[in-house]
């Protein structure tokens, strides 16, 4: 189904006007618990996904962000490798931050957004724009922050979610949290599996080799040793086992298994206006790729990171200053990487100041020393001015980087890594306006990014593929959003949100739009609740994307809608059971976000949500 942008805007216009009577924010700019994200990003756009959005999600992080952010996702078929394009940048220019730690793969610099189960975290924030000073490599287009929260002084809470639906898709999430005055414990398990054998609309074929089974385990624990000492422990392990879908023109019989395990130990000391933290983390990633899943031949790659981090912050009346020393030692190995080692030492200074109640600015500086490449000095400056109690202006500029990965530097085999690579660097600026009053908010952000030395794999004179710092690009665009919430009475409430993003991503030499970056993306959601019943509408429009760098071939744009019907079945003694029927791809749209890789037809999922 193809919908023109015009009719779409008319359609959305009607909804927005209707909902304008009174409003709220689905994704609002909030003060978040991650101390740095809260304290040192005042002039930066940070959106936190609401809890209701997280609980409604029935799939991967891709699906959550697809309908709730401006990010475009390239998925090699549903559930397969999924890479984001944030503000027109690539997958390795988007950082994923797990409880404050950058967890992008050391091997390819990316995070596959289908290897994160959103139910396993308590809070997801989308921080737009550059953040290398605070979060390191890849925080160029933006960063996604996954946080687990510790609930002290909390009674025992359990949540069990069970789902079943089309293509034998079944999922299970169980989360339990308990806290005393001095301790907090959270445990979670997640599992999603599917035969994923959806029809390729318009053909007689189906997704033959796309079944997957993903599981995760999470644990977080905190203990207050005294009023000034806090110990925290976070852990997550993800296990993925996926058959990799073929394309319309090629069958596949391959399989991909991956493990991501992350552990973080943190000690915090509070003393008057001084906060000290010591963090120690261990990250482990490994993949196995079976070209032929019936054979026991596979290729693999793995990496281990040890991170030690010392963080000292002083809070003053109108200001705060934070210094961070960070030491990482990373080892990589695999079929095509003999043995790679990296030692990285980073120094960061963050400063924020409120000269007046309505005015805030921040300055961040960072320099890394690394054994296998030269890292640039980077900075970020941001400011926020509250013009009135409802209207604010933000501004920021930053320099950011993306480092060469182990694959880029050390690959051997069918191609060759290049040890002379330098990091990609980019400078950018953003101007934002936010208007918010009770039940209504709107915002508009304009951005510009200029990047150079982008790493591209190209063959040399003798036909050997190797990465080089060759490309220069610039991106500019706007992101806008209107959100509304209205409670008619105790039985009736409505929430709605519409966002629109315009993105140009241009290769400097050819002046062509980068491939797989849509110029237009619109998302819309509408939730209406009446007593125990709820109806939720989620939709998006993706503009066309080019699939070749000369912009001669393209994928046409598409409109997608999901519809959910929710019913609160019981509320007895503090426990509740909510039933949800979800229809994905309501209009049976035949669409692809990567060429020749069809996405699912209309499908139905049933969810049961127990809270006790």
């Amino acid at each position: 189904m193809k919908t023109s942008l015009l009719s779409l805007l008319v359609f959305y216009g009607v909804h927005s006007a209707m909902a304008q009577q009174d409003p709220i924010i689905e994704l609002k700019e909030v003060i978040v618990s991650d101390s740095r994200l809260e304290r040192f990003s005042n002039g930066v756009k940070v959106d936190t996904l609401k809890d209701s959005v997280l609980q409604r999600t029935d799939g991967s992080l891709t699906k959550t962000l697809l309908f709730n952010s401006n990010i475009y996702f390239k998925e090699n078929g549903y559930g397969m490798v999924s890479s984001p394009s944030f503000r027109g940048t690539g997958a390795s220019q988007t950082a994923v931050i797990w409880n404050g730690i950058n967890v992008n793969s050391q091997l390819n610099g990316q995070v596959d957004f289908n290897t994160i189960l959103p139910q396993s975290v308590d809070k997801i924030s989308v921080r737009s724009g550059g953040g290398s000073t605070q979060y390191g490599t890849g925080a160029v287009g933006g960063s996604i922050h996954l946080e687990n929260t510790l609930d002290f002084n909390s009674e025992w809470k359990n949540r069990l979610q069970l789902g079943y639906g089309s293509f034998s898709t079944r999922n299970l999430t169980y989360k339990t949290k308990v806290g005393t005055e001095k301790t907090a414990l959270g445990l979670g398990i997640g599992h999603i599996a599917s035969d994923n054998d959806y029809k390729y609309l318009g053909t007689s074929n189906k997704n033959e080799n796309g079944s997957f089974s993903n599981s995760s385990f999470d644990m977080n624990f905190g203990v207050l040793l005294s009023s000034s000492h806090l110990l925290k422990l976070y852990h997550t392990t993800f296990l993925g086992d996926r058959d990799l879908s073929g394309t319309l023109t090629a069958p596949s019989n391959s399989n991909y298994q991956d493990i991501n395990s992350r552990s973080l130990f943190e000690w915090v000391n509070f003393k008057n206006n001084k906060v000290q933290r010591v963090k120690a983390a261990y990250l482990y990633e490994r993949y196995k790729f079976f070209q032929n899943k019936d054979s026991d031949q596979f290729t693999y790659g793995k990496a281990e990171s040890f991170i030690v981090n010392y963080d000292l912050k002083y809070e003053f009346k109108n200001a705060a200053i934070n210094g961070i020393l960070d030491f990482n030692t990373i080892k990589g190995q695999g079929t095509s990487i003999q043995q790679a080692n990296r030692n990285l030492f980073a120094t960061t200074i963050l400063f924020t100041h409120n000269p007046a109640k309505s005015l805030n600015y921040g300055i961040n500086l960072r320099k890394d020393w690394v054994n296998d490449y030269v890292s640039p000095f980077v900075f970020a400056i941001d400011g926020k001015y509250d013009v009135s109690s409802t209207y604010a202006i933000t501004i920021n500029t930053s320099k950011n980087f993306r480092i060469p990965t182990f694959n880029d530097l050390y690959w051997e085999g069918s191609a060759s890594g290049n040890s002379d690579l330098k990091p990609e660097t980019s400078v950018q600026g953003e101007l934002g306006q936010i208007y918010a009053k009770k039940g209504f908010s709107t915002q508009l952000h304009l951005f510009y990014i200029s990047s150079k030395d982008l790493i591209q794999w190209l063959p040399d004179n003798s036909g050997i593929w190797s990465p080089v710092n060759v490309q220069s690009v610039y991106q500019y665009g706007l992101e806008s959003r209107i959100a509304l919430k209205h409670k008619f009475d105790n039985d009736n409430n409505i929430e709605s949100q519409i966002s629109y993003a315009f993105t140009r991503a241009i290769e400097k030499e050819s002046s062509k739009q980068l491939i797989y970056v849509p110029k237009h993306k619109v998302t819309h959601s509408l939730a209406y609740h009446y007593r125990k019943w709820g109806v939720v509408w989620q939709s998006l429009f993706n503009g066309k994307v080019y699939t070749t760098s000369d912009n001669l071939q393209e994928l046409e744009g598409y409109f997608l809608a999901n519809c959910l019907l929710e019913y609160d079945m019981a509320k007895i003694l503090g426990s509740s059971l909510k039933t949800t029927i979800r229809i994905n791809n309501l209009f049976n749209t035949n669409y692809q976000n990567v060429a020749f890789r069809p996405m699912p037809n209309r499908n139905i999922q049933l969810q049961l949500n127990f809270k006790f």
């Binding site: 023109t249 090629a250 054979s295 004179n461 003798s462 760098s549 994928l555 060429a595 020749f596």
Partner: protein, 351 residues
């Protein structure tokens, strides 16, 4: 999604057909795509389809995606190469594991073989049968084979297990020579298959990475070996070898420097051509040493062919957009034409 291309191709096809009908030559063309150059384009790596482009012999017209235009279908992922009989063209789609058979002059699809191939590379017609080299799993050194194609039933009728990484394939008399370049690794041998028994009769040891072969008018097999590239940590020199096809013995070895990795051996008359570090070099089959001077420099070819004093080279550009075919006169070194073809043009053939 490629509707623009299809429309364009159809429009060009129509014009070209119209042209052809006007000039009635003595030799009537055997189809729309008679008398011209065919370029096979791999297409995007991980998804999508390869295509075939046609350029008329007089270099005045070009038509892209001719298979799609004629058959309203895709050829498959990574169109690696084409092979020919008098009547038909056999198009190898590497990732799709298919061999598409078309009338070589009309490009009308005849059949598709999708069973029995695994990572197919090159097609050869010999002794009434077809032979297709297959890598199997490119990391597995034991599952490589040559598929035997029954050209009556258009199906794989048997397989010949061979050494690791069979790539280029050429025939002389009853002997089929298969160069083992080596999949994702490197290898250094030539298998000799008897086309009557379909058995490997002998294996000839050559230098590392035999990447191209030619048979000269005296029946000598010339094998160009690229040597192991530097990233293997075991860099070896390229070599040009002359093999006596009667005895299957290496008669002459012309060695390159260790850091020299030549490719694309071509034969035009008695002259051999190859590509090295952006230059074109030539020597006569009777020469006793390698040339020290290049004929042309500063070229960047994804593949090249020499025919009748002309050099045909492709530029794959950034590998994510349409490439081009550039034609040079080897005497004057002048460009005779540049044509925008499909994505990653990897094969050049004459129809």
């Amino acid at each position: 999604m490629k509707i623009k291309n299809v429309v364009l191709a159809l429009a060009l096809g129509f014009l070209f057909t119209a042209c052809n009908k006007e000039d009635d030559d003595a030799m009537a063309p055997m189809g729309t795509y008679d008398n011209g150059i065919l370029v096979s384009n791999e297409g995007p790596f991980s998804n999508g389809t390869g295509t075939v482009s046609f350029i008329s012999e007089d270099l005045t017209t070009i038509e892209n995606s001719i298979f799609n235009a004629v058959n309203n279908a895709d050829l498959g992922n990574v169109v690696q190469s084409m092979g020919f009989t008098d009547e038909y063209a056999y198009i190898v789609a590497n990732v799709s594991n298919t061999l598409t058979i078309v009338d070589r002059y009309s490009f009308e699809s005849q059949a598709i073989i999708s069973q029995g191939l695994n990572n197919p590379r090159y097609f050869l017609y010999a002794n009434g049968k077809g032979y297709v080299t297959n890598w199997g799993d490119p990391n597995d050194v034991t599952d490589d084979f040559v598929a035997i194609i029954n050209l009556e039933t258009n199906s794989v009728s048997g397989t010949i297990p061979v050494d690791f990484g069979p790539e280029k394939i050429i025939v002389h008399d009853n002997n089929i020579y298969v160069a083992h370049q080596g999949g994702y690794g490197q290898n250094n041998s030539i298998s000799v298959i008897d086309s009557q028994t379909n058995e490997v009769v002998t294996t000839i040891l050559v230098a590392d990475v035999p990447n191209s072969m030619q048979v000269d008018s005296n029946g000598n097999l010339w094998v160009l070996c690229g040597g192991k590239p530097s990233y293997t940590q075991d860099e070896t020199a390229g070599a040009l070898l002359k093999i006596n096809t009667g005895s299957n013995i290496v008669e002459k070895t012309l060695a390159f420097d260790t850091t020299e990795h030549p490719n694309f051996l071509e034969l035009d008359g008695s002259k051999l051509y190859y590509f090295l570090n952006g230059g074109i070099y030539s020597l006569d089959t009777s020469d006793t040493g390698l040339p020290s001077q290049s004929d042309m420099q500063d070229l960047n070819f994804y593949t090249m062919v020499v025919d009748d004093g002309k050099l045909y080279g492709t530029d794959a550009k950034d590998f994510a957009s349409n490439g081009s075919l550039i034609i040079y006169d080897l005497d004057s070194k002048e460009q005779l034409g540049t044509f925008n073809v499909g994505i990653i043009p990897g094969g050049i053939y004459f129809n």
